[in-house]
Symmetry: C2
Subunit: 234 residues, 2 copies
DNA sequence: AAAAATGTACGAACTAGTTAGTATGTCAAG
DNA sequence: CTTGACATACTAACTAGTTCGTACATTTTT
């Protein structure tokens, strides 16, 4: 979708120009240096390419073409194909983290807090298939790139703390009868939400079912919440 | 695991020779026609290559080298790289189907039947990481190859029928209070079992947890069963 | 002028697929 | 029970095209 990218690019650019108080649009063949924009542009295109074709299947030339800049810039900023892939991966995880933090679940009753968290996870995976695919791809590579990135490794601890808090409160208040491990609970939730997106195609093909159908989605959203809650209550 | 493959190869070969009543082992550089064995040999090697590196990442030359035959034979038997990949996929699914059938769950009480089915699914995914990886890879490709294979499409219906039967009996007997959709239940089970294997690396890295640890495995095996059962009972 | 950013063109290595020819088994005819 | 024709199984070397990465030139910014 080059038109969208171009539109977005222009928007940012004119915004910047306004702030700078100077006209500096791209003329006929005149060049305008905009390093940060170039980086972001490359990352955006690369995310789609790698999410669609995988690391080995993704083509550097294809990314370069869809970018408003050249292949040279990919190597200038990211060093190598793997470097670019890692940057894509890191950026995707960073986005997630920022979204996940502010839910204020401590204010809610344990059961309601957990239901909210589950719904959020569900919606997140549903809304970010690219992220889900990148994680799948990374698993095929035995998480080799993730291991090399400190940024990604120190992640998601907050979710576990949140769940741990909810479980403790719930147990003390007698709402939950089971003392469960927060990481296990996180996995139970994640597995279902993730699988729905990651395995959409094979599952859909075998069982002739469209998992993105709103009705199915709603039912599943309720189901995983009920399953987790009833597990903890029994 | 080349040693295993070699051992198996020899076993089959000598068996065949005994039946034929003729010695025909490979001499210095003499050739021995053995089409079926050649096919199987290629498939075995290709399964590992594709499961490890993906479709785009898997190298035909690498497969050819690890095979006791040549690259030309891959094209002779499978036509193309994609043809080989499809054959690998089909074979993997075929194996699964044969294993899944004979459990005789109709003889058991609904709850016990479901627990047995869940344990079987869990153990299966745990024991077949290659299969799990191939399915992940196929999903990255939007199940494009699967769609072209009739063999794979007409699959897994038996599991759904089995679950449907268990759910019905359970509901009639009053063990299960909830009327659930069998495909949804299958997904709830599959998602957890599959995710544990497919996302082993990223999950393990982020939460510093070894999912193949026997203790963790046992706990998870019980957890998914408890979660499904308590979901149905409430 | 120095430094940072960018574009063009190209090359070295790799890779899927092919060509051209050889070995082996089989089966009917002598 | 040979012989020879024919189909199947197989090998080695090669090719056409792709793909990552880079050298060099140029422009913009400070």
């Amino acid at each position: 979708m080059p038109p969208v990218a171009i539109a977005w690019t222009s928007k940012i650019k004119s915004l910047k120009c306004t702030v700078a108080g100077e006209m500096a649009e791209r003329g006929e063949n005149g060049r305008k240096n905009d390093p940060q924009q170039t980086r972001e542009d490359i990352l955006l295109v690369a995310t789609e390419e790698f999410a669609t074709h995988g690391l080995a299947g993704g083509r550097v030339d294809a990314i370069a073409e869809k970018t408003r800049t050249s292949k040279r810039m990919i190597y200038y900023y990211f060093g190598s194909k793997e470097g670019l892939y890692l940057a894509v991966l890191e950026q995707s995880y960073r986005k997630i983290r920022s979204l996940e933090a502010d839910l204020h679940l401590a204010d809610l009753q344990p059961e309601e807090a957990l239901r909210t968290l589950i719904a959020t996870t569900f919606d997140h995976d549903e809304a970010n298939p690219d992220f889900v695919r990148l994680v799948s791809i990374e698993n095929i590579h035995h998480a080799a790139h993730m291991l090399r990135s400190e940024a990604i490794r120190d992640l998601n601890v907050s979710v576990i703390e949140t769940i741990a808090g909810i479980l403790e409160r719930g147990f003390e208040e007698g709402v939950f009868r089971r003392k469960a491990d927060p990481i296990d609970i996180h996995m139970l939730i994640s597995a279902f939400c993730f699988f729905r997106v990651s395995n959409r195609y094979t599952f859909g093909t075998i069982f002739r079912r469209d998992l993105s159908d709103p009705g199915t989605m709603g039912r599943h959203r309720g189901m995983i919440a009920d399953a987790v809650i009833s597990y903890l209550k029994n």
